[in-house]
């Protein structure tokens, strides 16, 4: 196994574990921030599992949190996916474009991308100078995820995690 493939599988393994944690937190008493934290981490590592095989350096990939939206942009070129969905490249591109804004909202949950704003891990200052805490915050992303497009994106994330090897290694 090449080093690159080993890194891909490593990111994938952790992404699958983060996704499992996301799925298992189905207790209404748990705040949304914890669920969103696991979702963000799963999506980021899914992205890295693919991007590490591309032209970005491993060092850059391990240090960036911006991987999921890039992943979605790359995945729409995947022939196996196009075939599985029975879509042409343009159709798949249009299809995925509708999901990119929600994918971006998941990605920017990472504190370093949140620009001192809402994130599921650390308190931040709002515009009026109040300290906000993730467990008290009502994340607009929760409503987006409950939309048909949100549910569709979650279904794709799960599909990519389950079928990653078949889609991207063959």
């Amino acid at each position: 196994m090449t080093d690159l493939r080993a890194w891909q599988l490593a990111f994938l393994k952790q992404a699958r574990a983060d996704w499992e944690a996301y799925q298992r937190i189905d207790d209404p008493t748990w705040p949304s921030c914890h669920r969103l934290h696991f979702l963000q981490m799963a999506a980021e590592k899914l992205g890295k599992a693919l991007l590490v095989a591309g032209d970005m350096s491993l060092e850059r990939i391990t240090h960036t949190h911006a991987a999921f939206v890039k992943f979605m942009r790359v995945a729409r070129n995947n022939h196996n996916l196009q075939k599985g969905l029975g879509m042409t490249y343009s159709q798949l591109k249009a299809h995925f474009n509708r999901l990119l804004s929600i994918a971006n909202e998941i990605e920017v949950l990472a504190p370093t991308l949140a620009q001192d704003g809402p994130n599921p891990e650390y308190p931040w200052l709002d515009k009026s100078g109040h300290i906000l805490v993730p467990i008290d915050y009502s994340f607009p992303l929760m409503k987006l995820l409950q939309s048909p497009q949100g549910a569709q994106l979650l279904r794709y994330i799960r599909y990519f995690l389950v079928e990653f090897e078949k889609l991207f290694f063959e």
């Binding site: 189905d26 409950q146 939309s147 048909p148 497009q149 979650l154 279904r155 799960r158 599909y159």
Partner: protein, 108 residues
């Protein structure tokens, strides 16, 4: 019908209406009724990927939807397979008490 059930039903109907408006590829939405204070929906979408199973995603109660929401999405073909019992529903879900909302009937 209890007041609680009436409230849940009105929340479900509002949610279903919104989802049909948001997604043009939704053909129907199936409400799997439950004794629990939660909303279980299967959305039949012609433009989604086939996975061969019914995976629901959980959302905690919110100000707008004060019930736990479990939302699954399937293709029209997968829905037919569910009806033929070829694809199982999530654990605890049953078709014994369900209601199908078609786009034509909801969005007129």
């Amino acid at each position: 019908m209890s007041q609680n059930h009436q409230h849940l039903e009105s929340v479900v109907e509002k949610l279903i209406h919104e989802h049909f408006e948001q997604e043009e590829n939704l053909e129907k939405i199936v409400w799997i009724k439950s004794d629990k204070p939660e909303i279980r929906l299967i959305e039949v979408n012609s433009q989604t990927i086939t996975t061969g199973d019914v995976q629901s995603f959980y959302f905690p109660p919110s100000d707008e939807i004060p019930y736990a929401l479990k939302l699954a999405e399937v293709t029209p073909d997968e829905w037919q397979r569910v009806l033929r019992s070829e694809i199982p529903l999530p654990v605890g879900w049953s078709l014994e008490n369900h209601q199908v909302f078609s786009r034509d009937l909801v969005t007129v």
